[in-house]
């Protein structure tokens, strides 16, 4: 597997001191003064944040830190009270979620959204963008979309093979296991040819055997030139694959930097890591042994 040895980390992502809101050499997403409150509770209050291009950025923080809310705001699934944010130089404020997705920013969900009563293959084909046959008038004339549909199918099957789901292509997505659904959702997201992939807790509920292949897939995304932003609670995964870590607490960005330095910062330890700071969380979660086995091979 591609990730059996420690993945090559991207460095030189930032300009000047690394700290909350620091400048990046090549930012993909720039967020300014984004604020969202639910009633009296301020869920997200981000002064300034830049997400580096062609790198894997992890967004961590305790429960209720506002990570998923920030995700929803960035992807247009929720609207902030105030603030501006840019994606590749284009302002995204007020842009509906489907247009955000068309621009190449695709997301997955914390609670997996497999389209249960569609086959795995149909799930995949739905991901492809600019389909002629998705217009109601052209839909009536198969001649206009059949060729494109066949091409999409080939691409979908290739991706399914990569995610080891190709044997399931004719099954309803409802028959897949939780982990397989996570894989399907990620594969489906890739059908949109994204430039930025946003994964909301890709490891949640995935068994350790699948963890390895999921990690590999995330690393492959970077290799193919995509940018990844993910929310994760598994510190081992964050240490292992992230090039950059952003720590949130109570809606604010409290720290950011490369994983090895940021995880030793006092603010992060206070906010999140707590008592486990000096043991590798991989040991706590039992996943370290699998990584070691993989290394021995």
């Amino acid at each position: 597997m591609s990730n059996s040895d420690s993945p090559k980390k991207s460095t030189g992502l930032h300009i000047g001191e690394s700290g909350p809101g620091c400048k990046k050499t090549d930012p993909m997403l720039v967020i300014d003064h984004v604020k969202k409150s639910f009633g009296g509770l301020t869920a997200v209050d981000v002064e300034h944040l830049e997400i580096p291009k062609n790198a894997i950025t992890a967004l961590i923080g305790p429960n209720g830190a506002g990570k998923t809310t920030l995700f929803n705001l960035l992807t247009g699934f929720d609207t902030p009270d105030t603030g501006e944010w840019e994606f590749l130089g284009t302002s995204l404020s007020g842009v509906p979620s489907y247009k955000v997705a068309q621009m190449g920013q695709v997301r997955t969900f914390q609670l997996t959204k497999a389209l249960s009563l569609l086959t795995v293959l149909d799930n995949m084909k739905l991901g492809a963008k600019n389909q002629v046959g998705e217009s109601i008038f052209r839909a009536l004339f198969p001649r206009s979309w059949r060729k494109q549909d066949a091409e999409i199918e080939i691409k979908a099957i290739e991706l399914l093979k990569r995610f080891k789901l190709d044997t399931k292509q004719a099954d309803f997505a409802a028959s897949l296991s939780g982990g397989q659904r996570k894989l399907l959702e990620m594969a489906r997201a890739l059908m949109t040819d994204p430039v930025l992939v946003m994964l909301d807790e890709p490891m949640a509920g995935v068994n350790p055997a699948l963890t390895q292949s999921l990690l590999g897939h995330v690393l492959d995304l970077k290799k193919e030139g995509m940018t990844v932003l993910f929310v994760e609670h598994d510190m081992h995964m964050v240490r292992h694959i992230a090039d950059w870590v952003v720590v949130m607490a109570e809606g604010k960005v409290v720290a950011e930097g490369p994983p090895e330095t940021v995880m030793n910062e006092q603010a992060v330890i206070d906010a999140y890591l707590g008592a486990h700071q000096d043991t590798d969380l991989g040991v706590v979660t039992g996943r370290i042994s699998i990584i070691d086995q993989e290394k021995d091979k």
């Binding site: 992807t75 247009k99 009563l117 569609l118 998705e134 109601i136 839909a139």
Partner: protein, 327 residues
Amino acid sequence: MDWGTIINNTLAGLLTPTTIAFALAALGLAMHFGFAGLLNFGIAGFMAIGAYGYAISVLTFGFPWWAGMIVGIIGSILFAILLGVPTLRLRGDYLAIVTIAAAEIVRLLFLTTAFTDVTGSADGLFGYNNSGGFTSANPFPPGSYGWGPWTYNSETLWVLTFGLGVLAVCVWFLWALMRSPWGRVIKGIREDEEAIRALGKNVFAYKLQALIIGGIFGGMGGIIYAAFANVSPGVYVTSITFFIWTSLLLGGAATIWGPVIGAVIFWTLQAFLSNILPELALAGILPVTGTQAATLRFVLVGIGLMLLVIYRPQGIFGDKRELTFVK
């Protein structure tokens, strides 16, 4: 008991203008609910608008019959847009509440005496098939056609032929749409619209398109019904909506032929029950009067609907695998 008459009347129920009208409306619901997941409880409203659109434009504005029918269809498209724009952003169950209310508003507007000149109020409208030229467009010379239970005069045969033609076009239309990538998006929206949105599809536009297509089918159902019987506000009541729902669920909501076969089974069963129940009462087997026995069939329809939803939610033609995964 006169089994001959009972069987004869039951078999006649297989093919009547009413059956075709219901099949069309059920096809519209299949588009709304079965494929797009839109809980529309106002299909009677779409039928009413189709029927009144046809009748009013012929009687009040002197349109020829075909132009009147087109007006009926345009009316149901406008109703779908009017209903969809404010409500399709709501969650499914709210759409159900709004549609049931909207259908009642439509019916009461046709019933009110304020517009008697145009709508005929409680008396409804009649004579438009003659004055609009639908009757004289009949290509069949007067006489008796068919055999056995399926003996029709030329007028009924004309409505049947016309209705079957419309139904065939609508079935083809739905089939062609649902096998296309457009249909794939629609089914995806039924499963989870947020996921579809995250893949860059304009979910609202798709839902509105689905509502309009299904609304057209519903309106066509109303028009076929009006081409055979008079237009009366007493027809387009909420129970009609539930009859259509029963037909749809009987056949299978997410299928093309399900709603058509479902409507046929529903009306055949209705014909059978409305014949046998009074006979049973008369023979003293049922401890009720003849009139009570006739209404008993609606009770049985209700029980049937419940059993169907509990034990076979995918309907007769639904994919067996769907049953395993019904939420």
